[in-house]
Structure formats: C-alpha cells, structure tokens
C-alpha cells in the first residue's frame, strides 16, 4: 500500500522536497554570512529562510506591479535572492569558503537532511492515511490557498468576499501557493503536502538550534578548559539533542492523554481526581448504569480506536475557565500545541508560522553570539524576517521581544560587567526602533489593507490558570527547566545576582499590578466592558460582594504565577551576574562576572520569554469578538511551547552531560533523568494514540479487509459527491478570468460546515463568491465587515446583506431580481449543486435554464451568468 502510494504520488513529494532544498540553496550564500556566528551557519534554518525571503521578494514585486503571480515570477524571485546572496558573499572581506565548511560539517548536514526527509515523508504518510479536508476550518484555508493560486496579481482576491482582497495574515498561504504552483500539484494535494512540510521544517529548525546551542557550549568548554578532545567526544550528543528538540517541538503532546484520558477511559481514575483536573467532558464519568456494577460509562479500553470520536481534540482545551459561580465558560481557552495542530491538520496561520518562528529563534541566538553590532543590511534582514512574522501570524509579533531580548543579552555578555549600561539600553532601543520602522516600511502594503477584530488589551480579572492544568500542558518542560534553573543558579555561585532578581521580580509584579489597574480604568470607559462588569457584579450581589470571590479566584493562579515568577527570578539572577566577592565583601581582584556561555545565556533568555508569554494571559488578554481569553492563551502558550521545547532539549543535556561544569551528583542526575524520561514517555502517548485514531481509525485502515488506498489528494472530500466535485473541477478549468465571480449557496452567520456544505465551490476553485463563511469574514475584517457585506442603494430602498442577495438570486422567480444581483456583484457563473438544490426553491432555480450551461454533471449545473440570456425566453435560439 505504501509503495503503491509512493509510486503514484512520490513525484509530488519529491518536487516539494526539491523545491525547498533549492530555496535553501538560493538563500545559503546570504545566510552563510548572516548566520556566521552559529556553528552550523544556520544550515537547518536555510530552507525556511529561503522560502520566506523568496516569498517576500515575490510578494513585494507583485504588489509593486513588477511581477505577476506566475511560477516563473517565483523562480525570478528565487534568482534575485540568489544574486543578492552571491553579491553579499562575494563582497564579504573575511569570507569563509563554503565548500570546505560543508565538507567539514558533513555529519550535521547529513543528519539534518535525513531528519527532514524522515519527518516529511513520515508525516505525509500520516496525512495520506486520512487526507480529508472536511472538518473545522480547512475549507477556509483551502479557499485562501486556491484564491491566492488563481489571483493574477497581488493582493490576492478574497475567495469568500468577491471584490475584496484577503484581509488576513496570509503570507504563509502565499508561500504554500507558490510551492503548489511551481510543483503543479492540485490544491487538494498541496494542502496535504504543506502540513508535512511545515512539520518537517519546524522539526529541522529546532534540530539546528539545539545542535548549535550544544556545540557552542562545547566550544565554550574548549576555550575554558583547553580540552578539545573531551569536547569533541560530546559532539555526537549535539546531534542527539537536536533530534530531541525536534521531537519536543512537533512530535510530543501534552500530558492530557496519560493523566486524564487513559485513567478516564479505563475507569482507573477516582471521580475526585477527575473533578480536580476539571477538564471539559472529563470532569466526571458519564451517568453510570446501576445494573452493571463497575461500569463507569466508558469503553474501558486502552485502544484509542475504541474511544470517543475525536477524543484527542479535548487536549487542546486543558485550561478551563469558570465564572464566579464556578460554571465553565461557554468559550474556553485553546491550549493547542504543535502535535495537536498537525493531528488536526488545519493549515492555520499559527501552523504556517511554525518554521519561521524557529527561524527567528535561530536568528536571535545568532545575534547573542555576535561580538559587534549588526550592519545596516543585516538589520534590514532581521526586520524582514521578524516583521514577516506579523504577516504570517500577527500574534507572532511577540518575536520582536525575543529579538530585542537577544540584542540585550548580546550586549550583556559582550560588555562583561553583568549589567546593561545606559549605552546598551540606548542601543537596544535604537535597534528596536529600526526593527519596527523597517517592518512598517517593508510590509506597508500588508498593513495598509489589514483589518482585524482586535480591540485592545483588557485586564484578566477572573481567570487565572490552575497549576494542575498548567502542568498537564507543560509538565515535562517545567520539570526539566526547573532543574536546569536550579543547577544554573548553583553554577552561578557567588555571581548569582539575587538582589537584582528580587528587585526585578518586585518590579515585574508592580508593573503587572499597575498595568492591570491602568487597563482596568481604560477598559472601564468602553461601554460594553463596563456593562459586562456590572452584569458580573450584579449577579454576585454588587461590587462589594464581588471582591472576596474575585480575590479567592485569584488565589487559584498563585502557584502557576509563582512558578513562572520564580523562573524569571532565576534567569535574571543568573543572566545579570554580579561580581564575585571575597569573604570580606570586597570585589575579587580579577572577577569573572559572566561565567555562562552564549548558549546558556540564550537558553535562559528563551526560558524567561516562555515564562512571560505563559504568565501574561493570567493578567491580560486581547479583546476580540469572543470576549474571553480564548485566543490569548492559545497564541501565547503556543509560542511558549516552541521556546521551552528548544530550551528543554538543551537543559536536559546541560544538567546531565555538560562537560563544562562539575557534574551534578549522580543520584540526583539519575532521579532527574528518570523523571524526565517518564514524563516525556507519558507525553509521547498522545501522538501514538492520536495518530492511531486520526489516521488509522478515521482513515478506515483498521476496518476488516481495508482497501482504502493512501493518497494526499483531499480535494474531493470537500465536495458533495463525485458529480459536485467534477462540476467544480470543470468550472475551475473554464473560469480563467481574474474578475470571475461565482454564486453559490450560503447562509448568514455560518462559521463551519455544520449545517451544510457551504462555500465549497469558491473554496475548491478560488473563484470569489459573494460571501463565504461570514462569521469568519467578520473576524478578519472587524468593524469594516458590515459596510462591505451590506448593500444600501442611494434611495435606501434596498438594504441587503450578501447572503440576502444570494437567496434572492436563487429563490426569486422575478427575473429582474436575479438580473439586478448579477449586475450588482458582477457574477460570472451560477452554481447549482446539491446544497443549492437543498436550500433554494425549485421554481427559483428553474429560471436559470435559459442560460448557457458551462458544466453539467449529473444533477449539478454550472451556468454562465449571461444577463441577456436570462431575459430571453427559455427556448430562444433552440
């Protein structure tokens, strides 16, 4: 079965592998210079950098009207990147020959390539077992992909709102669309190739960074101990830690399956335990059958194939927020992690941004390693890459903080005083201004057209994260990083700057409180916020009555917040080292203030960054259409996962093997090692079980006599049967004009295909329809949505939404109504498939019979929206 599939679709896999390799090759001369401080010269990150840089050049030249959206233009963009890289390399005075370097580092390169190939083909196999694109938001992502593929120029058309460009962070879709166009595969295949590609690129990035961290530390050891032989003995461990980092980032799940699902399914958990864990639908057993003692209402099976449908989905919701009465909120925070993303297989922007987030982490580490300031062209590139994260996934603007933090750590380690001088602070600020300013310039066309639902930051009063739930999410990382911080504090010895750390933590708490108050006061001036606050207060017996429950509620988060603040304390104390003192308190004559390497310094930075990201949702959240912290927890925890994954791989190695320091006592190491292994193993249950459920069970491969062939083509799953799919494909081949518009069924206030199969024609072809899932359009366009969606004529006689217009177009028996809608929205094609026949009246649909048929399959008809034909008698010309 596997080889049969490889025989059929191996070419597509090969082409994507080759294209990404070429993207890496195109950028490597530039990258070799830019990332010159990393031992690997950023080899593992080059693919992602190449895709991003080529994508940027392609996008900006399209936006400027210099290129069209064609495969050739992508190749030209790649060539431009290559030429820039070659010029940069050729003009590099201290240039290091690339070929000897490649020869000297063949083991790293081979390992990176093997890892990429295994991860890419491996996850492609998982997707091929169940390539369906039906569920959740895949139709929307498919629409973006197709909309970009068929747009003649940029900005690309929004396939779900004709006449408008996409108003969403869509850089990732552009990158994937260009790969699809270059390889010439259908979008159904491209979608399912993009996910393995992202999986492999992210893993590869983590591998490269972890490898560089370990090798940097070993080189630091060589310098310190003059023991190159011992250092070299540890080099293979760098590769192993790299692989471990890749596993942490994209393969490992959270503890939910081991800690809750298995005990629940096997009835081994006590009801009190489940209640304490308090996860949605897993806080109690189902109603038990009294007639069957011991029956807790579950399958009592260890095989996930027997568990409830999509059980794995629950572990993307391990944090549960409740109101003051203890009732769970209707909308709960999302606690997604990469492995869940890939199991679910939505190609959302946060997934598309994963490899590039790794790239930014790598760039940050490179920055920490530098001895001197960045040149102007390097600052431009840093801005291009970091700013690109906003275009990829606007929440990833947090990476600006990481890059600035890296610049601060660079200055800290370079000046050797353990403190940041005023000059340093000024440098960091200047660098930040440059980054932001350049980002604004480089991505100006995106910012101009971008609208969002974000409405500011408001304080989180009621929903701190309980530690047990936080531990389910980040358990192994907390243990490994906790141990590492303790060990590092010990390694710091007298240089540990506890005083500064205490001051800083006090400052952070003070800042949080102050910010909390300011935000609360600011938010109070927003009527809807004030109204919500009054409502809560009224329900709890007035404002005075609320104070005590709120304070009690805040106590629930004390452990989580305490742990995170403690981590920050340790990081600050270690990073901002103080001069070691003699016993009499006077400074040492030749103090070595900074005793950690750049690698350790950077790991401390990303630990702190992760702590900040996971702490923030306890105090603030982004005001959006949901009104709760659903997205704030989701997006910030997600980045926390990435940072802590890389940090944990290094931390594990550092605690157990780092030759630069005196080894930790063997019993402690054994306990720590065993605990880590157990926790990691428990987390690895999630991917194993989830893949069994999602790929094997859902894909029908556990059925007796399974004959389901493996395929990556999931396009047909979005259609309503073969005739529908064939008609959609036919339409896609016929409608080539850039200004085509297709009419298809829709409904008001739809967000998913739950009550029908809406927006599939536009989704599968990319031809814009009047309105797709309007709920999502509203999220993407924020306050501008209504004006775009509503048509009001000058005399105010007509006041209709686009969904109304569609209904009128199909249902009205008055030809004039249909004509008006066709002209108003420039409709080129009218699609009548199963959903349209289900939703609209037969008489209404009959009026289209006079139009020329473009495609006809079974009960599906696609008509050319010919206004004259609609006016003519039905039999005219026949």
């Amino acid at each position: 079965m596997f080889f049969d599939w490889i025989g059929r679709e191996g070419g597509a896999l090969l082409s994507w592998w080759l294209l990404t390799l070429l993207a890496g090759v195109a950028v490597y001369p530039l990258f070799f210079r830019l990332m010159g401080m990393l031992p690997s010269r950023g080899y593992a990150l080059a693919r992602a950098a190449g895709l991003m840089l080529i994508g940027f050049v392609f996008w900006i030249l399209n936006i400027l009207g210099l290129l069209s959206n064609t495969p050739g233009s992508t190749v030209l963009a790649a060539l431009i990147v290559l030429v820039i890289g070659l010029v940069s390399y050729a003009t590099w005075k201290e240039r290091e020959p690339i070929l000897p370097w490649l020869r000297a580092n063949w083991s790293h390169i081979l390992a990176a390539e093997l890892l990429f190939a295994v991860m890419f083909v491996g996850w492609a196999t998982v997707r091929a077992m169940n390539p369906s694109l039906v569920a959740t938001e895949k139709p929307m992502e498919m629409a973006f992909l197709n909309g970009i593929r068929r747009s003649a120029t940029f900005p690309p058309h929004d396939p779900w709102m004709s006449g408008y460009a996409i108003s969403y962070y869509h850089f990732g879709y552009i990158i994937m669309a260009t790969l699809a166009n270059l390889s010439g595969v259908s979008s159904g295949i491209a979608f399912n190739l993009a996910l393995p590609l992202l999986f492999a690129l992210t893993g590869l990035g983590a591998f490269g960074i972890a490898y560089d961290l370990v090798v940097t530390q070993l080189r630091h050891f060589t310098e310190k101990q003059k023991n190159e032989v011992l250092a070299r003995q540890h080099y293979p461990s760098a590769l192993a830690i790299g692989v471990l980092a890749a596993v942490f980032v994209v393969v490992m799940g959270n503890l939910g399956t081991a800690a809750v699902e298995i005990p629940y399914q096997t009835c081994t958990a006590s009801p009190a335990y489940l209640k304490w864990m308090n996860l949605d639908e897993r806080d109690a057993y189902p109603a038990q059958d009294a007639a069957a003692p011991g029956n807790c209402g579950t399958t009592q099976s260890l095989d996930p194939a027997n568990w409830n449908y999509w059980w794995w989905f629950r572990y993307s919701r391990v944090v549960r927020d409740t109101d003051l009465t203890g009732q769970p909120l209707v909308i709960q925070p999302i606690t997604e992690f990469p492995q869940f993303s890939f199991i679910l297989s939505d190609m959302h922007p946060h997934v598309l941004a994963l490899p590039f987030a790794m790239l930014i982490v790598g760039l940050s580490f490179n920055l920490v390693m530098r001895k001197r300031d960045l040149y102007v062209w390097e600052v431009v590139l840093y801005a291009l890459f970091t700013g690109g994260m906003i275009f990829l996934n606007s929440w990833d603007a947090v990476y600006f903080g990481l890059v600035l933090g890296a610049e601060a750590v660079r200055r800290l380690t370079n000046n050797g005083t353990g403190q940041l001088t005023g000059r340093d602070w000024l440098g960091v600020v200047r660098f930040g201004i440059a980054l932001v300013g350049l980002t604004a310039i480089l991505y100006l066309p995106f910012f101009i057209g971008f609208r969002s639902q974000a409405g500011g930051i408001i304080p989180n009063v009621l929903w701190p994260t309980q530690f047990n739930q936080f531990f389910i999410m980040f358990g192994p990382f907390l243990v490994i990083l906790g141990a590492f911080l303790i060990v590092e504090a010990r390694r710091a010895g007298q240089t540990f700057n506890a005083r500064l750390a205490v001051q800083a933590i006090a400052g952070i708490i003070g800042f949080l409180v102050l910010a909390f108050l300011i935000l609360a006061i600011t938010a109070w001036f927003k009527p809807e916020v004030r109204q919500a606050a009054f409502q809560v207060a009224d329900e709890s017996g007035g404002f005075l009555g609320v104070i005590a429950p709120v304070l009690l509620r805040r106590l629930q988060g004390v452990v989580t917040e305490g742990v995170l603040l403690l981590a920050m304390f340790a990081v600050i104390g270690r990073l901002f080292a103080r001069e070691p003192r003699k016993t009499d308190g006077t400074p040492d004559s030749a103090p070595q203030v900074i005793t950690y390497s750049a690698a350790t310094g950077f790991v401390l930075l990303i630990i702190a960054a992760g702590a900040v990201l996971t702490l923030l949702p306890d105090f603030v959240y982004l005001r959006d259409g949901f009104g709760v912290r659903i997205n704030t927890v989701f997006k910030l925890y997600y980045q926390g996962w990435l940072l802590w994954s890389v940090a944990s791989a290094y931390a594990l190695w550092s605690v157990l093997y780092d030759p630069a320091w005196e080894p930790v006592a063997t019993p402690l190491r054994l306990v720590f090692g065993a605990l880590s292994v157990v926790l990691i193993a428990l987390c690895m249950i999630y991917p194993v079980d989830a893949i069994r459920s999602r790929a094997f069970k859902e894909g029908g491969h556990l059925d007796p006599g399974d004959t389901n062939a493996l395929t990556l083509d999931g396009g047909a799953s979005l259609a309503m049967g073969p005739d529908d799919y064939n008609a959609i494909q036919c339409l896609a081949s016929v409608a080539k004009a850039d200004n085509d518009v297709v009419a298809e069924a829709t409904k008001a206030n739809i967000a998913y295909n739950i009550t029908g199969n809406y927006s599939r024609v536009s989704g599968l072809t990319g031809i814009p329809t009047l309105i797709g899932w309007d709920n999502h359009e509203r999220q993407w366009r924020g306050e501008t949505f209504d004006s775009a969606n509503l048509f009001v004529d000058a005399a105010n006689n007509i006041n209709e939404t686009r969904a109304d217009a569609i209904a009128k177009l199909y249902n009205s028996t008055n030809i004039a109504d249909a004509l008006a809608e066709i002209r108003r929205y420039n409709i080129s094609y009218i699609y009548i498939g199963p959903q349209e026949r289900r939703d609209f009246s037969e008489v209404g649909l009959a009026k289209f019979d006079g139009l020329p048929t473009v495609c006809h399959f079974g009960n599906v008809d696609v008509y050319a929206a010919d206004a004259v034909g609609l006016q003519a008698p039905k039999a005219a010309g026949n």
């Binding site: 210099l66 495969p71 050739g72 233009s73 190749v75 003649a152 120029t153 050319a864 010309g877």
Partner: protein, 676 residues
C-alpha cells in the same frame, strides 16, 4: 600567447599576418583622397546580402502559435483590450528582449506581422556582421570567412525570419565573448561590466534556453583555458605596466563583481520593464526561467528527439563537414594564438551544444544555432586552409589548379544529385504507401560512376599537383556544392515552404488561409460597420478551441471588438462568430452561414519511407500535409444578405471573397474540408 598549466591565457598577441594596416601604411591611400577598403566593401556586401535574404516576403505567412504568443504579448502591452482589466490583458512573453523590441516598434510604427518579425530579422543581419569584432584575434581572412558562412547559414536565416529567440542569445553570447576578450586584454572594467550585462541579458531575457548558450560559452572558456600547449607554467609579462597573462582564478578575482552585477541588475530591470513603461514586463523574465526549467522535462508536441542536432545536420551539412575537420585540427593544434584559443572555446561550446541537444527536450529547431556558432568558427579554419594557395616543396601548383579541381567536383556532385532527383521523381509518381518498383531505385546505380569520377579526379589531380592540391580542390568543390545546397535549402524553408509542415524546421505551421480569413472578415466588417476592423467578433474558446494567444488570435488582433467567450448566450447576434469546426451550428439568437478555414497544417513524418529522396531535395512527398485546428467563421446571414436555409444556422461553403452576390442562395450541406 602562453597557455599554462595554471589555465593562463592571453589574447593580447594577435597573429602578425592578420594585423591591421598601420597608420603609416595607410598614408598613401589618404593622399589619393577618400578610399574605401575592399574588406569594408566585402562586409557591406555580405550584410546587404544577408538583409536581402531576410526581408523579402517577411510577414507574408501568418505567425504560428509561438510567434503569435510573443507578438500578442507585445500587442496587448501596447493596446490593452478595452473589455478587460489591465491585469487580464497580460500575455507573458517568453522572449523579453524581443518583447521589448516589439513593444517599442508597435508603439512607434504598426502592429503588423512584418513589424513583429522585423526586429529579429534585423538582429540576424547584425549577427552576420559580428565576426568583425573578432577580426583583431581571428585575422582578416578568417573573420571574413566566418561572416560569409554566417551569411549563407540556413539556420540563422530561418531563425532570423521566424522570431527565433536564439538569434538574440547568439548575438548576446558573441558580444559577451568579445567583451570578455577585451577585458582580458585591457583590464578595463567597462568591458567586464558590459560582458556581465550581455550575459545577464542572455540568461534572463533572450529566451528560455539562453542559459545553454551561456553554459557553452562558460565551458568553452574553461576548456580553452585548461589546455596547456607550451608546458610553460610561469607568468610571462611582456608589459611592465600590465600583466597580460591571466589564470581563470585571477580573472574571477579581478572581475568587478559589485559594479558588474549592479549594472546588470539595473539594465535588466530597465529593459525588462520596457524602460519603466511596462513594470509587469519583469514577469517575462520569470517566465523565461520557468520555461527554462520546464524545458528539462517537457518536449514540445510533435518534436523528435535531438531536434536541434537533426535540424543542424539537415540544413547545414557544409558546416558539419568543414567544422568537424576544423575540430580535428583544433584538437591537434599546438598553436597558442588568440585564434587558437577562440577555436578551443568553440570546441567546448560545441560539446555543450551536443549535450543540450541530446538531453534538453525543450530545445526547438531554432536551437540548431547552438551548433552554428562553434561550427562556423571551426569550419572557417578548414575553409581558410582550402582557399589559400598551395605551396609545396615538390609540386609547382598554379593558383587556379585547386579551383579547377573544385569546379570538376561540383559538376560531378551535381550529376550525382541529378540522378537522385530523377529517382525521387519516379518514386513520387507511385501511389502513397506503396513501394517503388525495383527499376526505380536501381537508377541509383548511376550515382556510382559519378562518385567514382570524384575519386578518380582526386587521384588525377594528386598525380599532377600533389595530394595537398587535390585535397584543396576537393574541399573547394564540396564547399561550393554544399554551400549552394545549404543556401537553397535555407531560402526554400524560410520563404517558399513557409507554411509547409514537411519542412523539417516547421512542426505546426500556421496556414496561409488565415490571411484569407482576415480579408473575409475585413469585407464583412465593412458591410456591417463601414470600417474594416470595427465589427464585433465572438470567438468561442473552450476545450481544444482557439486560444487567446494563438495563431488565430494574432490573425484577429486588429479587430478591436473581438471577444473570447466560453459559451454563447442564446440571444447572441454578433455579426461574426468563430468557433471550432463542429457539425453543430452555434446556438445563438440569429441565423448564420459558415465558412471553414484551416488554422494549421500538420504532416505525418512516419509516412516518409522512399519519399525521403524527394523530400531531401525539395520537400515533396506522396503523402500531403493535412489541415488542422479548423475553425468555422459564422457570419450572420444578413451581413451578406444570404437568406438562411431551413435550419437557423448551417455551415455553408461560402467562398471567402470580398464581394458575394447578395441574393445567391448558397449550396446546402456540410463544409467541405479544403486541402492546403
């Protein structure tokens, strides 16, 4: 010149025998008043000859699909279609330089077929004259011979007359080579900058396969530089101020990369955007790269394997015969003159051309030019040696001796040819698909005595004036005979058989009937709108139907109200509807009468067998070409006042002439396929 182990080469020392006359030598001529050197006159005559070969009947034949695509790309850039958004009018050119030239020409002059073909044709003339640049290294005589060979080259003639992008890449490659040579000589950065610009234009803007010529040049240079003819690996500096000996690595190091790449980028950007007038023109560069990559895996439909190589063999036997001899001499030469160096460059170039022809499926007939440049250079050596007077220690050879021998060889080869033609014509009289009777091929036996006569004459001449004179005479004869054959073959392919698919060069030529269709439509338009090009025309596209960038589209490009639609509305009543030939009449809101036109011709190469003889000589075969891609021009019945027959619309065989008798009832029935 010294070529060393360390890949040194020096082009400073030119051959003394070919040195230009010094200023003092030229003084007596100056005293006599204005004089025109014979050499200049010869070059002018050759250029005029090349021009004369390229201009007659240029534009008579309709453009084929590939040419139409390029022409329409420029036409749409100059004249966007009113019914579409600017972005949608774009057809991306695959030869950006030609696109720029066509755009400028169409803006300044006219958008006719001739105007579209003109830039490449003129560039072809320029290419004929480019050897003049290499005169300083090749010498006067050799450069002139190269020019003559290029002037009669059928492949260059055909490519020049048919918008061959390879002509552009050939010109750029030669200019690039010249600039590299001058940079090595003078170390003036301007030459390096110019060379970089030319080579960037070659790879990015000339044509998709432009990179092959670049590779040929590159590999040729490396091959030549790696050849050690002296065993001297020391640097020999003759000039105290200038080190005239370069190694490849020194050349790379001394190249002003920054300036050169920046200048090339600016020039490519400016030219690609038609000097900022058409920004999206840069997409054409992307398309070049895209097509270049696709060329590795995609062979154009109907094209045989190693098409450029076969084309070159067929049309340029003279170059192959003399070029291979030149190749042998070059490889065995110990010479270190600049001319030897250049010939070694050409050897490497020839190798890459051979590899590309075999392993690059995207190559077309015009890429036979890959072979033309190196072969011309190598053949010139052989021709030069054949033409120079024979000086022998033992034989006193008169100057006219080898020429006389050459005339005899021509005569005997002509006898051979005539016999072949007779046999070929006999075979042509038999029915297609049948084998000729035994006596017909037997006439080929008459060729044997003629061939024997060539051999006998060779030995006869050898016994009188020595073997060297005999070889010279044989060379002159073969050169004259094959040269005449090549020139004739080139002219026939370029002009006489311009729409004949039996011509090996042409795979899917557009039919001349498209001209007739245009005339018919002009007449109809005058009847409908009183203006020749204002009539509304609907072209029904769809699967296998006419495209918006093909031969038909170019034939219609001046009809400004042409619309391409996928389906006809039931109430359509446009004066003219053009649709793919179909037994069903279009379902429209008026009655129409139709006339069918072939758009292309095709011919089955598999049917050749014994026709090969006549095909080689004059491309006649027993199996005739067939029309392809036929369309029916449906004219609304009231345009010509033709009353509709029983059915609302019926395809009729209305003669496509200007003035139909208004009331003459057309004969009923289906359209009769026309033979070309």
């Amino acid at each position: 010149m010294h070529i060393t182990n360390d890949t040194e080469f020096n082009l400073e020392e030119s051959q003394p025998s070919y040195d230009l006359p010094s200023e003092t030598q030229a003084l007596p001529a100056q005293r006599a008043g204005i004089t025109i050197p014979v050499e200049l006159l010869l070059y002018a005559a050759l250029l005029l000859f090349a021009l004369a070969l390229r201009l007659p009947e240029l534009g008579t034949n309709p453009l084929n699909d590939r040419q139409a695509h390029e022409a329409l790309a420029a036409f749409r850039a100059v004249t966007p279609r009113a019914d579409l958004q600017p972005d949608e009018t774009q057809i991306i050119a695959q030869n950006p330089l030609m696109f720029v030239a066509n755009t400028l020409l169409m803006s300044a002059a006219a958008s006719t077929t001739t105007a579209t073909l003109l830039p490449t044709a003129l560039l072809g003339v320029l290419v004929v004259g480019l050897p003049l640049l290499f005169r300083r290294w090749l010498g006067t005589g050799n450069a002139l011979i190269v020019t003559v060979l290029l002037a009669i080259s059928p492949v260059l003639l055909l490519a020049s007359r048919s918008m061959g992008g390879t002509v552009w890449s050939m010109a750029l490659a030669l200019l690039g080579l010249f600039c590299i040579g001058r940079f090595i000589e003078s170390r003036a950065a301007a030459y390096a900058v110019a060379a970089t610009i030319f080579l960037a234009l070659l790879v990015l803007m000339a044509e998709p396969a432009g990179f092959v010529m670049f590779l040929g040049l590159l590999v040729g240079l490396l091959f030549a530089a790696s050849g050690n003819r002296t065993g001297n690996d020391t640097v020999d500096t003759n000039d105290e101020t200038t080190d005239n000996h370069f190694t490849v690595s020194m050349l790379v190091r001394s190249w002003p990369w920054g300036r050169a790449l920046l200048s090339a980028t600016v020039v490519v950007g400016l030219v690609g955007t038609v000097f900022l007038l058409y920004p999206r023109g840069l997409s054409g560069i992307g398309e070049v790269l895209n097509q270049a990559i696709r060329g590795f895996v995609t062979r154009p439909e109907g094209q045989p394997i190693a098409f450029p190589l076969l084309t070159s063999f067929l049309y340029e036997p003279v170059l192959w015969v003399f070029g291979l001899v030149g190749l042998y001499w070059t490889l065995n030469s110990e010479g270190n003159s600049p001319a030897d160096f250049i010939r070694r460059v050409l050897v490497g170039w020839l190798g890459i051309s051979l590899l590309a022809a075999l392993f690059y499926p995207g190559a077309r007939a015009e890429h036979a030019l890959w072979f033309t440049i190196p072969l011309v250079g190598l053949a010139a050596l052989t021709v030069e040696r054949a033409l120079i007077p024979v000086r022998d220690k033992f034989w006193d050879v008169p100057i006219w001796g080898p020429y006389l021998h050459g005339v005899a060889v021509v005569a005997m080869l002509a006898i051979t040819g005539i016999n072949l033609v007779i046999v070929a014509r006999l075979i042509m009289n038999t029915a297609p698909g049948t084998l000729p009777t035994i006596d017909q091929p037997l006439r080929l036996i008459f060729i044997v005595p003629a061939a024997l006569l060539v051999v006998i004459t060779f030995f006869l001449v050898g016994s009188i004036w020595g073997a060297r004179a005999a070889w010279h005479g044989l060379g002159i004869g073969v050169l004259a005979f094959l040269g005449a054959y090549s020139l004739g073959a080139g002219w026939r392919a370029a002009v006489v058989n311009a729409d004949d698919p039996r011509e090996f060069w042409r795979i899917h030529p557009a039919a001349r009937n498209l001209n007739l269709m245009e005339t018919t439509l002009i007449t109809a338009s005058k009847r409908v709108t009183s203006a020749p090009y204002d009539m509304q025309i609907l072209v029904l596209t769809g699967e296998d139907g006419p495209t918006e960038d093909g031969a038909l589209a170019w034939a219609l490009h001046r009809f400004q109200n042409t619309e391409y639609v996928k389906e006809l509305a039931l109430t359509t009543n446009a004066p003219v509807i053009i649709a793919r030939q179909s037994p069903e009449a279009p379902k429209a809101g008026a009655a129409y009468v139709g006339q069918d036109f072939p758009v292309y011709y095709i011919w089955d190469r598999g049917s050749l067998s014994w026709d090969f003889l006549s095909w080689v000589y004059d491309r006649t075969t027993r199996v005739l070409p067939q029309s392809d891609g036929r369309v029916i021009v449906w004219v609304r019945s009231d345009v010509y006042g033709v009353p509709p027959p029983d059915q609302a619309s019926t395809p009729l065989n209305v003669p496509p002439v200007q003035d139909l008798p208004p009331a003459q009832p057309p004969p009923p029935g289906q359209p009769v396929p026309k033979q070309p």
